[in-house]
C-alpha cells in the first residue's frame, strides 16, 4: 500500500499534518522558509528547530524517513558549510595551506548547514504528508487568483495530473522497448559517449511515438467525457479550511513573530 498512491514519496496516514489543507501546508512551508532566511542567531534557530521537530512528530513520519531523504544532499550541505568555514574573514583557528579557518567562518558554516537541513527536511515533509493530487489541487487553487493575469492555473494543474498519471506507464513502456531492442542486439550500456547517445535512438523514437499516440487517444477520451477546459468545472473534493488550519496558521505566525522579534532585538539592542 505504501506505494499505492504512486510516485513521489507520499506516506498515507491520518496524522494532524496529513489532515491539514494542502494550501495551509504550502503557505506554511513558504513562511517557514522565509523564517529560515530571516534568522541569524542560535536562539532563533532553537525555536525553528523545535517547531520543526514538533511538526515532524505530529506528522507521524518516522525520523528515519526524513534522514533518508536528506542522504543525497549531505554533500551539498557539507560543501556549503566548508566554503563558509574557509572564506569568511575573522579570527583564525588554523591554517591549512593557503586556506584559513575562522571562528566566524565556523559560525557561518554551521548556520548555513542548519539552514539547508531545515529547508530540505521541511520540503520533504510536505511531499511525505501530501498526496500528489492534493498538491496539484492546492497549486491550482492558490494560482487561481492569478488566472486573470493570464496564469493558466487549471491547465498547469491538469498537466501535472496527467504527468503523474502517465509517468509509471511510460516507465514500464521504456523498460519493454529497451528489452525488445536488446533482443535485436542493441547495446545500451557500452561504447563511447557518442555511440551511446546514438544507441538511444531506437529507444527514444518508439517512446515518443507511443507518447504521442497515448496523448492523442487520451485527448479523445477526455473529450468524450465532456472535458472543455477549466471554465464551469466543479470538483468532487473541494478544499475547505478547518479549525486545524487556523491553528496551524496561528502557530506559524507566532513562530515568525518570535524570530522577527529576536532579530530586531539583536540589531537594535545588540542582544
Amino acid at each position: 500500500m505504501l506505494n499505492d498512491i504512486t510516485l513521489g514519496q507520499y506516506i498515507p496516514s491520518n496524522s494532524l499534518i496529513h489532515r491539514l489543507d494542502p494550501r495551509t501546508k504550502i503557505i506554511g512551508l513558504l513562511l517557514y522558509i522565509s523564517g529560515i532566511f530571516i534568522v541569524e542567531s542560535y536562539l532563533a534557530y532553537a525555536f525553528l528547530g523545535a517547531f520543526g521537530i514538533t511538526v515532524v512528530r505530529l506528522s507521524e513520519v518516522p525520523i528515519k524517513m526524513i534522514l533518508r531523504s536528506l542522504k543525497p544532499l549531505w554533500f551539498i550541505v557539507l560543501f556549503t558549510a566548508l566554503i563558509h568555514l574557509f572564506v569568511t574573514p575573522g579570527t583564525p583557528i588554523m591554517t591549512v595551506g593557503s586556506f584559513t579557518m575562522t571562528w566566524e567562518g565556523l559560525d557561518q558554516g554551521l548556520l548555513m548547514g542548519i539552514r539547508l537541513l531545515l529547508l530540505m527536511s521541511f520540503a520533504t515533509l510536505l511531499t511525505y504528508t501530501t498526496s500528489p493530487i492534493a498538491l496539484t489541487d492546492a497549486i491550482e487553487r492558490l494560482l487561481k487568483p492569478l488566472s486573470r493575469f493570464g496564469v493558466p492555473a487549471h491547465e498547469l494543474a491538469m498537466m501535472m495530473t496527467i504527468a503523474l498519471r502517465f509517468i509509471p506507464t511510460l516507465i514500464d513502456e521504456t523498460d519493454r522497448i529497451m528489452k525488445a531492442q536488446r533482443s535485436r542486439g542493441a547495446d545500451f550500456s557500452s561504447g563511447s559517449l557518442l555511440r551511446r547517445v546514438r544507441c538511444l535512438i531506437p529507444l527514444l523514437v518508439p517512446l515518443f511515438i507511443s507518447a504521442f499516440r497515448r496523448a492523442d487517444e487520451l485527448a479523445v477520451a477526455m473529450e468524450a467525457r465532456c472535458y472543455r477546459g477549466g471554465d464551469h468545472r466543479t470538483r468532487m473534493h473541494t478544499l475547505a479550511y478547518t479549525s486545524l488550519d487556523r491553528n496551524a496558521y496561528i502557530a506559524v505566525f507566532v513562530l515568525l513573530a518570535i524570530i522577527i522579534a529576536i532579530r530586531i532585538g539583536k540589531t537594535c539592542y545588540g542582544m
Binding site: I5, A224, T234, M236
Partner: protein, 277 residues
C-alpha cells in the same frame, strides 16, 4: 428516445480522393435500452461509426441524432456526450487521474455537477461496476479488466443512458474479458442502459439483442444473433469466427442428423441433440 444515424457518410480529412469513404450512407437506429453488437474486420468502419454516436467525429454527409439532437449542432454537443458515454480499446489511455475515484469524477466535474452530487454519483458508479474497494488505488496498478470497469464507471457517473464500447476487451486476458462483459450485460438487463458493443469476439456478440455486420463502410446485414451467427458461410467469408456449436451443428447436419438451423450456443446444441434420442 433513440440514437438515429441517417444516411451518414464520413470522409477522413487528408484521405486521398480516390479512397472510399470510411462510412458510406449508413442508416441505423438504436432504441433506448437496446443492446446492439457491431462486428466487422478492421477497416470496416465500425470504430468510425462509434465515434459519430457522441459527436467525436462529425458527419461529412447525413446526420446523427441523439434524442433528436444533431451532433452537428454545437449547442447540443455536451448534452450528447453526457448521454452517450464511451469506453475505448486501450485501458491505459483513457484514465486521466492518479486515483480511481478522482478519475470517475472527471466527467461530472467537467459538466459542473455540484460536489456532493459528484460524490454520490462516484460512489454509486463504483458500486455498479464492483470496484468500490479500489476507490483510492492508482489506476496503473490495476489489471486491464479493472481499468475498463473504471472507464465504464466514468461514463455511468456522467449519468449516461447509452454506453458505446469500442472493442473494450481486445487488449484483455480471458478473465478481464469476462469481467467487462459481465458488467455490460448486467447494466443492460438490470438498469436498461443502451449498449453499442463493438467486438471481434463472437462469444460476446451473442449476448446482444441485435447484431450489425459492417464491411467497407457499409452495413452488410443486421439481425438477431441467431439470424447472423447461423450464416456460417458469410461469416467465414468476412473472416469472422463462427461459434463452435454452430460449426459442430453444420457438420452433424452434413452427416445426416436432423438438427434445426438456429443453433448458436452449446446449450441449444445439447437440447437439439437430446430431441433426436
Amino acid at each position: 428516445m433513440q440514437i438515429e444515424v441517417k444516411n451518414l457518410c464520413h470522409h477522413y480529412v487528408g484521405a486521398e480522393d480516390n479512397q472510399p469513404p470510411a462510412l458510406d450512407h449508413v442508416n441505423l437506429t438504436i432504441d433506448e435500452g437496446e443492446f446492439v453488437a457491431i462486428i466487422g474486420t478492421n477497416g470496416s468502419g465500425k470504430s468510425t461509426l462509434a465515434k459519430h454516436l457522441n459527436g467525436l467525429l462529425l458527419p461529412s454527409e447525413g446526420e446523427c441524432l441523439v434524442d433528436g439532437m444533431s451532433t452537428l449542432d454545437y449547442e447540443y454537443i455536451w448534452d450528447i456526450r453526457q448521454k452517450v458515454g464511451m469506453v475505448f480499446q486501450n485501458p491505459d489511455n483513457q484514465l486521466v487521474a492518479t486515483v480511481v475515484e478522482e478519475d470517475v469524477a472527471f466527467g461530472p466535474e467537467n459538466n459542473g455537477v455540484p460536489p456532493e452530487e459528484i460524490r454520490r454519483r462516484v460512489d454509486d458508479a463504483l458500486r455498479r461496476v464492483g470496484m468500490e474497494a479500489f476507490r483510492d488505488h492508482a489506476p496503473h496498478r490495476l489489471s486491464g479488466g479493472q481499468k475498463q470497469r473504471i472507464a465504464i464507471a466514468g461514463a455511468l457517473a456522467m449519468d449516461s443512458r447509452w454506453l458505446v464500447l469500442d472493442e473494450p476487451t481486445a487488449m484483455l486476458d480471458p478473465q478481464g474479458r469476462q469481467e467487462v462483459l459481465g458488467i455490460v450485460k448486467r447494466l443492460h438487463k438490470e438498469e436498461g442502459i443502451g449498449i453499442v458493443y463493438i467486438t471481434h469476439y463472437m462469444e460476446e456478440a451473442v449476448a446482444a439483442d441485435r447484431v450489425v455486420v459492417m464491411k467497407n463502410g457499409v452495413i452488410l446485414t443486421e439481425g438477431t444473433p441467431h439470424e447472423i451467427f447461423t450464416q456460417t458461410k458469410m461469416l467465414e467469408e468476412l473472416g469472422l469466427t463462427v461459434p463452435v456449436a454452430t460449426l459442430l451443428a453444420d457438420r452433424l447436419r452434413a452427416a445426416g442428423l436432423d438438427l434445426p438451423q438456429n443453433i448458436i450456443t452449446d446449450e441449444e446444441l445439447a437440447v437439439a441433440l437430446c430431441q433426436l434420442r
